[in-house]
Symmetry: C2
Subunit: 223 residues, 2 copies
DNA sequence: ATTGCAAGAATGTCAGACAATCGGCTTGAC
DNA sequence: GTCAAGCCGATTGTCTGACATTCTTGCAAT
């Protein structure tokens, strides 16, 4: 018997649909940081009842994608640079580890997937669609994290990256950032393809550091 | 103006009270892994309404402390050893980093707090109260994580440790585990007190590895 | 300008209801 | 006797409606 053939399908419930919709809305920057989310408005916009919405909001609160202050309701947190830095630092820790492990254990098949996602990002990088750039780049990391052999590493990473999605769109639109990002990602890919753990770690570390620097620039200039 | 004087008090809402109560109940092993949590029962036991309870459950679900399968309701997840291993590995990553940073930046005052918490654990280790042992040990880590200079590291770590609290109680009751744990923690403390980053990292790594080994033993023997 | 107050809006919480679904038990067929 | 089918109770998913509490905002008064 396969160890964990996840055969149980998950019926789509209103709650889950709502969480996904709102999460996506937050990612794409539909809500301004600091803006408040009024329950009654969201209910009519989403066409759902208040209890369902509130459950969804609690999920997002626990993911730290929104804040809920008692008697003031939910709002989009304004990410301070201090917190963003902390996130980038932990992200570095996780990604470096994941890239290193991935280099040692990725299957040829998954390696092809990784190459494909790199090509997808390459194409997006040539365009000016920063949302596509962020999405394809996220796919690239996803594959690495999914093949590092540690599901928790993947889970934690996803949670962190979600919280800085706001920055990533902005920093990707910096002049030349997409292209240099592509170069860094290619380096990571080559190292993993070569099975060179140390190189993969180093390249991964460089990539996060540069992404962090780009985020800082975009933040300083943008606000 | 101080940068972030957290002056806003958080009123206790039913939802938050419920989350805290249930979280504590899970920590102390009141619910067996795999057992289901029936909403109506919890409502009457806690004296709250279903909507409030369901909000609380969504929070706990996002924390991965419970699982909610659509149309089957919430249950305590049975932690596989595979996942537990993954958690210990990430925990190692985080704790090692935190201990290293902590050694470089902890204040004398906080260092005294750390020493105090070590003494508290020492006392608990002499007793047979495994819950007290887990609690005081958690305090010790908390102080380290709180002084590593990275709030995200702390946050992520807390989330992970919460999920293996089940193991910790069991492995602490292993013969001699509390005492050897004490020795390892003392080593961590000494390294931090000496401001020796490398030693702190090494000691911290050793401690997690031993904790993981103890958890495995207790799991193999206990089930 | 600052304070105090009052109206309006939004949230926290509850009660009750109903359809959809799941799990187990009974029944029936082979 | 075993296995399949089907029914029934239990539980969850979701909605509506309601009400007290709290926050916000604008206005009046000092």
């Amino acid at each position: 018997m396969p160890p964990d053939l996840n055969l149980r399908i998950s019926p789509r419930t209103v709650q889950r649909e709502t969480v996904d919709k709102l999460r996506l809305a937050i990612f794409s920057g539909l809500f301004q940081p600091g803006s408040r989310l009024v329950e009654s408005q969201l209910c009519t916009q989403l066409g759902i009842s208040r209890p369902s919405l509130r459950e969804a909001l609690r999920s997002l609160e626990a993911e730290r994608l929104i804040e809920i202050v008692p008697n003031r309701g939910p709002s989009i947190p304004a990410l301070s640079w201090e917190v963003a830095t902390a996130i980038y630092e932990v992200r570095e820790l996780l990604e470096v580890e994941a890239a290193g492990r991935c280099a040692l254990r990725i299957s040829p098949e998954q390696l092809r997937e990784l190459e494909k996602s790199l090509s997808a990002f390459e194409e997006a990088a040539s365009s000016n669609d920063s949302l596509a750039q962020v999405m394809t780049a996220a796919d690239f990391y996803s594959i690495i994290l999914a093949n590092c052999g540690n599901p928790i590493l993947e889970e934690v990473h996803r949670g962190l990256v979600a919280r800085i999605s706001f920055f990533r769109g902005r920093s990707m639109s910096l002049d030349g950032r997409a292209q240099s990002s592509l170069a860094e990602m290619r380096e990571i890919f080559e190292s993993i393809a070569a099975g060179d753990e140390k190189a993969a770690r180093k390249a991964s570390k460089q990539h996060v550091l540069k992404a962090k620097a780009a985020a800082k620039i975009s933040m300083d200039s943008g606000l």
